[in-house]
């Protein structure tokens, strides 16, 4: 009865984790609405500063898709105080590693460097929060770069194109149907005025979270934040509308064929709720059970999909599952797979549905669940090795309207999930009515 051993071990492990989690993180709210979260990590004399704005592609609407991401590019193109190109020069000269990223739910900017430079980060970020120039000349050049980025990441990448198409088909009313980078036609038609309006609307202290992780002293960081951001007025940003997805009523299928494709690929996505959907009708445990379900299928070396489909049945060359409980709007529990030689996408689809059916009938074993839980806790401890990643988790949670403390509570919540709950969420959510299937095949087409 090995699982009893691993379960009691798990209790110890969770205790270790909780001891580590205590009192490292400090939250404060500035008068202008800017939220500051500081996490101490004194292993090296460095710090990462991330500023997160609650705006992303899911804030956008038809015609201006990609505007959040285009604006992210323009944030490096000059303010009233720092001329175009200077921002990156200043950061580089101090040994900084910097960049930015845009998702469906947020836009974030970061610098990682010697901890003494946190003040400079604040100064620069406070400046570009309100003083961006948005020069026409710069924009004309930069939008070409963005189009090249789209070609590189999506148009010339068959599997990425499949993903983009799958989301556009799966979502009917949710803004998640729009790609983060934007539709090419929208980018081509985009004007600097679109960006100015977007900037004015969303870039404000009361729509931002400032995250600092590293070799810093929380009180001193708070004083610095007040010094640099305190004078910026609250803008009373109206939060974005929810625009929820309508209830899907039947399986959708789409095929993408292109002559760029040599290896077929399968995508399957089921509509699933997220933590933000929790209500009196939707208990929280369902979300954590979905997380565990994902781990059982594709978490760690002994997960079911690889074991059954790749190693035993040999139907798949590779296969994986994906689910995120921390998006702003409800999302997809998805599968992606490449068939082994001699097998079709239909074989693969059937095999995945078989695995789902097994989980809908039989709850996972206690031993299997114990393995998953051990890995979840271990992963949380491994996370501590990356300051950037710790900041990423805090920033993501805050930006989608959740509390960063959920990260520390995560282990406990996962621990409470029972085998029967896993079976129940598989039965409730992984159903044909909410499924979208997308297939990538070699063929005609650009």
């Amino acid at each position: 009865m090995r699982y009893i051993d691993s379960l009691s071990a798990l209790v110890l492990l969770v205790a270790t984790f909780q001891a580590m989690a205590a009192d490292r993180t400090h939250e404060s709210l500035l008068d202008n609405g800017l939220k500051l979260i500081v996490q101490e990590d004194h292993r090296a004399p460095v710090a990462v500063v991330q500023i997160w704005y609650k705006v992303g592609s899911s804030s956008e609407y038809d015609g201006i898709t990609g505007v959040s991401h285009a604006l992210e590019h323009m944030m490096f193109k000059g303010t009233k105080n720092v001329p175009p190109g200077k921002f990156s020069e200043i950061v580089a000269a101090k040994g900084g590693n910097e960049n930015a990223f845009t998702s469906t739910d947020y836009t974030a900017y970061f610098q990682t460097w010697a901890a003494e430079n946190v003040a400079l980060s604040f100064e620069l970020e406070a400046d570009r929060m309100r003083n961006l120039l948005l020069l026409e000349e710069e924009f004309k050049n930069e939008i070409r770069v963005v189009l090249e980025e789209r070609r590189l990441r999506t148009d010339d990448n068959p599997q990425a194109l499949l993903g983009e198409t799958a989301r556009a088909v799966a979502y009917q009313t949710s803004p998640y149907r729009q790609p983060v980078v934007g539709w090419a036609a929208d980018l081509q038609a985009m004007e600097i005025g679109d960006l100015s309006a977007w900037y004015k609307r969303w870039y404000a202290p009361d729509n931002a979270t400032l995250v600092v992780v590293g070799d810093v002293e929380p009180k001193a960081i708070k004083a610095l934040a007040i010094k640099h951001f305190g004078a910026i007025a609250r803008q009373n940003v109206k939060p974005m509308r929810k625009r929820p997805e309508v209830v899907q009523q039947g399986t959708k299928t789409v095929t993408v064929t292109s002559k760029k494709t040599h290896v077929p690929h399968l995508y399957m996505g089921y509509k699933t709720p997220v933590l933000n959907d929790v209500s009196s009708d939707l208990p929280e445990w369902e979300i954590y059970a979905l997380d565990v379900l994902m781990e059982i299928l594709d978490g760690g070396p002994s997960a079911r999909l690889s074991r059954r489909l790749v190693r035993e049945k040999r139907i798949a060359a590779d296969v994986g599952a994906d689910y995120s409980s921390t998006s702003r709007l409800s999302g997809l529990f998805s599968f992606h797979a490449t068939p082994a030689a001699e097998h079709s996408l239909e074989d693969l689809e059937e095999a995945i549905i078989d695995e789902i059916a097994i989980l809908q009938k039989e709850p996972p074993t206690q031993a299997e669940l114990a393995r998953i839980k051990t890995q979840v806790v271990a992963d949380r401890i491994y996370q501590r090795d990356s300051m950037f990643y710790q900041g990423l988790i805090i920033g993501t949670l805050e930006s989608v309207g959740l509390d960063w403390r959920l990260n520390d509570e995560y282990v406990e919540n996962i621990n409470r999930v029972t085998p029967v709950q896993v079976r129940d969420v598989a039965s409730k959510y992984l159903i044909p009515a909410s499924l979208t299937i997308a297939k990538l095949l070699p063929g005609a087409g650009e």
């Binding site: 040994g95 599997q159 760029k260 074991r307 501590r384 650009e446």
Partner: protein, 438 residues
């Protein structure tokens, strides 16, 4: 914006503070010949262990793809445990286990919790991987089939096609010419016996570097290293790779591909690890195209002309001369313009060297950014492996900033003129060939 200017002027004084952050490297050799490099990192209750062997694709000889398959088979069960049983036990420990192979090296990595209850069984599994890997034919057949699909999938990626063609053209008959993934024909012809022979030849103690970082003291690390390496046969260190020949003439290759963008690679053999020109080439290339968002190439290609999302140049120092590569991707209609900008800037840089202020800025970036290179256990373990595998001095990290600081404009110009020849470079372009034959 007075304050910003002030802060910018107060440049890299972080130099002195950096010195304190440099990890203390302990080094010893195990009884049967494995070279061990250890850094104690007590802050987080985890341990990283990384074995590297000179067992990358440059040891493939007439069997491209062999080293890659061998490194995958290392994950397919050990001792009495088949793959599924092995993976279940591994999952119970919470450890992360990975293997892989590039051109120079193959690695076996384990990240585990340091608490004995978890570390002990994880080490037991690693030990059996090193001493009694299964190499079952069944797993081999499956891995080979997957490898063939992956080679086929690379044909979907203009970037992969460009890289493979680039190495082939730069390296001719040198082992670096071949892609670690091999070719359809070579991988299809592999058999299980060859993988076993390869492993027995190269996965041996005298060919092993072992890096350990984590919440252990030196005695614990020594016991751990002795225990793990004991499972390896002593074996022999393989001979050095043959010398890379310089190109005698420029090579230009245009490969037709249906992508919208054309992918461009320009370059030639560059430098090796421990190269006497390492620092001038590193710092110089930082100015040319090596530094993230600030470099000549980034400025000329992206910032001024909007021609490419990513553009860079880099030296990849390896055991033998690794390549110097400049790369970009751009819409096929403007690829000739992009190539000409890239070529001009490389030529200009070789002829004129860096401007004084640009060189200073690059040095500040490298020195100021140094603490970031060793700010986590996973980064430190990578550095240890690199120092060990390439026989770099143990004070490599300690002296890094001093070496960077010492590089002058003349050093860079001299190194670039001696090491790169813009008239004998490889140019690879993958994309739609223009209908007008351009």
């Amino acid at each position: 914006m007075k304050t910003i200017k002030l802060l910018v002027c107060a440049v890299a004084i972080s130099f002195i503070q950096v010195a304190q952050a440099i990890p203390q490297i302990e080094h010893w050799v195990t009884e049967n010949g494995a070279r061990v490099f250890f850094v104690a990192a007590p802050e987080i209750p985890i341990v990283d262990i990384r074995f590297v062997f000179s067992a990358g694709s440059s040891r493939d000889a007439s069997k491209p793809g062999l080293a890659n398959i061998v490194s995958q088979l290392v994950k397919e069960g050990a001792g009495d445990l088949d793959t599924n049983e092995f993976n279940e036990q591994l999952a119970q420990t919470g450890a992360i286990f990975s293997t892989g192979a590039l051109r120079d090296m193959a690695w076996i990595s384990l990240r585990s919790l340091s608490e004995e209850q978890y570390l002990e069984p994880a080490l037991g599994l690693l030990q059996s991987v090193l001493s009694r890997p299964r190499f079952d034919n069944d797993a081999f057949e499956r891995r080979r089939a997957t490898a063939l699909i992956s080679i086929k999938r690379d044909k979907q990626s203009p970037g992969s096609i460009a890289s493979k063609a680039f190495y082939k053209a730069v390296y001719g008959d040198h082992p670096y010419a071949v892609s670690p993934s091999g070719t359809q024909a070579s991988v299809a012809s592999l058999n299980i016996d060859e993988t076993v022979v390869f492993r027995e030849r190269y996965y041996v103690a005298n060919n092993a570097t072992l890096a350990i970082v984590g919440a252990l003291n030196k005695a614990q690390a020594q016991a751990l290293a002795a225990r793990l390496s004991a499972g390896l046969k002593p074996g022999e260190k393989p001979a050095d790779l043959k010398t890379v020949s310089q190109l005698v003439a420029p090579i230009e290759q245009r490969i037709d591909h249906p992508s919208i963008q054309s992918h461009v690679r320009i370059g030639q053999p560059g430098m090796r690890r421990g190269d006497p020109d390492y620092f001038p080439l590193l710092v110089g290339n930082h100015v040319l195209g090596g530094s993230g968002l600030v470099s000549i190439l980034f400025d000329e290609v992206r910032e001024k002309r909007g021609l490419s999302y990513s553009v860079s140049s880099h030296f990849s120092p390896m055991a033998a001369l690794g390549p110097f590569t400049a790369s970009l991707q751009t819409d096929g209609s403007q690829v000739d313009e992009a190539i000409s900008v890239l070529r001009n800037e490389i030529r200009k840089f070789i002829d004129d060297g860096p401007k004084v202020d640009a060189l200073e800025a690059a040095k500040q970036n490298l020195i100021g950014g140094f603490p970031l290179r060793i700010s986590s256990n996973s980064k430190t373990v990578e550095y240890l492996t690199m120092i060990g595998f390439y026989n770099l001095p143990l004070d490599y990290l300690k002296t890094f900033s001093t070496h960077v600081e010492a590089v002058s404009v003349d050093d860079v110009r001299s190194a670039f003129t001696r090491r790169l020849d813009p008239d004998k470079m490889v140019l690879v372009v993958v994309g739609k060939k223009n209908s007008d034959g351009g």
